[in-house]
């Protein structure tokens, strides 16, 4: 049931990303809820689950973006892997650390997109992307991230409580 709830959260996050989030666009930039979710899972879940969520979220985002498959899979998986390893060494909690690491992840995510588009696909993404859109995107993720982390923390606590109660009732 806990995993089902997680799948539902992913579906809701993607639905919000593809419908509502445009309303909060600042200069054409919107936060990436999938990225924040991947970092959250990598920090809060086991290593396998963290990396797994990175891969699955990346594939889902790729297939929903109409772009080159694999770009988001690559960036999200590496971000998940990085944070899974990092959580034992650093304390990734609180507004400033979360915002800082989300900004770093966003920069990495954008860089992977830029390099993939300009190499594998042979497309044209203007260099101005690196110093205009990317910093704005990273900053936006850094602002929205801690809020979403806070909400997800509470949701996770509530879910764990509910699922343990459900499990106890079921065992009895």
């Amino acid at each position: 049931m806990y995993y089902l709830a997680q799948i539902l959260i992913v579906l809701i996050l993607f639905s919000i990303q593809t419908t509502w989030l445009g309303m909060f666009s600042i200069g054409g930039v919107v936060p990436d809820l999938a990225l924040i979710w991947v970092v959250y899972c990598a920090v809060h879940c086991s290593r396998t689950m963290g990396v797994g969520s990175g891969v699955i979220t990346g594939i889902l985002q790729d297939s929903l973006s109409g772009g080159l498959l694999g770009v988001n899979t690559l960036s999200k998986s590496f971000i998940a892997l990085f944070f899974s390893a990092l959580k034992d060494k650093f304390y990734v909690e609180g507004v400033i650390p979360v915002a800082f690491f989300l900004i770093l992840s966003s920069l990495f995510d954008g860089l992977v997109f830029y390099l993939s588009m300009n190499t594998v696909l042979g497309g044209e993404v203007a260099t101005s992307f690196l110093y205009q859109s990317l910093p704005a995107y990273s900053l936006y993720n850094g602002i929205v991230g801690p809020v979403l982390f806070f909400a997800l923390n509470h949701l996770e606590g509530w879910l764990k409580l509910k699922t343990s109660k459900f499990y106890m009732t079921w065992v009895k």
Binding site: A34, G66, L68, G70, S133
Partner: protein
Amino acid sequence: MPNKGPKGRKNIILVFSILLFSLALMSLSAKQQKEMSFLDSLTSLTLSPFQSLFTQSVQSVSDVINNYFYLVSVSKENERLKLEVDKLGNEKNELIERISRQKRLAGLMAYQEDRKKDSLVASVIGRDATQWSKVVVINKGSRHGLKKYLAVVTNSGVIGQIIFAGPNTSKVLLTIDSRSAIDSIFQDSRVSGVVVGTGKKQCQIKYVPNTAKIKVGDRVLSSGLGGIFPKGLFIGTVFQVVKKKQGLFQEITLTPGSDLSKLEEVLVLLS
């Protein structure tokens, strides 16, 4: 220390697995897009009910929020009256929304009749899941006769082309996406160029010689070359012209005819 060896090896294997898997996906996707359509279909199929639900609820939620804020400050004495006003306001909003939808649809229908070509009206139910590409999802797919490379327009002009048609939904690549390119001509000067997306709110027209006389406000139409967009569709108007002393071509910025951030209904040209 003895535990570091296997852990390090495991990490390296994991990194290489991710890299290999992603690169395999990228090369498969770049070369054989048809093979990947199953994944696209599956995710679109799973997500489209949620998207529809969320899109439909946007108006209701914003109404509720707006009216709620009004209601918070009212005293008990006029609560009943406020509620009545609220109810009437909701009804009015619904009616206004219905009228504006009818107007938009009437505009599309008139455009459809003018063109005398097969076309289909579709509603936008979602947007792209990433920050970088500019794609919208419409509620019509292959079951309704849609397929890849069909032009998508509104009565204000071209908005893009279908890049993927699932059974019930399709993805439309907007003209502002950096992968979009449309062969075009200027309506007055008849100079040709290629409208390419920038990934932002505006497009650029490339390959317009420095000698061509282009001014702000010039209208740009599709040239009909390329086989996707019929000739004469309005794409947008020139927003800025920069002539460099060095270089062969002008740098022209174009504002799309349709407001691509507020798309609700679109027309897919079937022929």
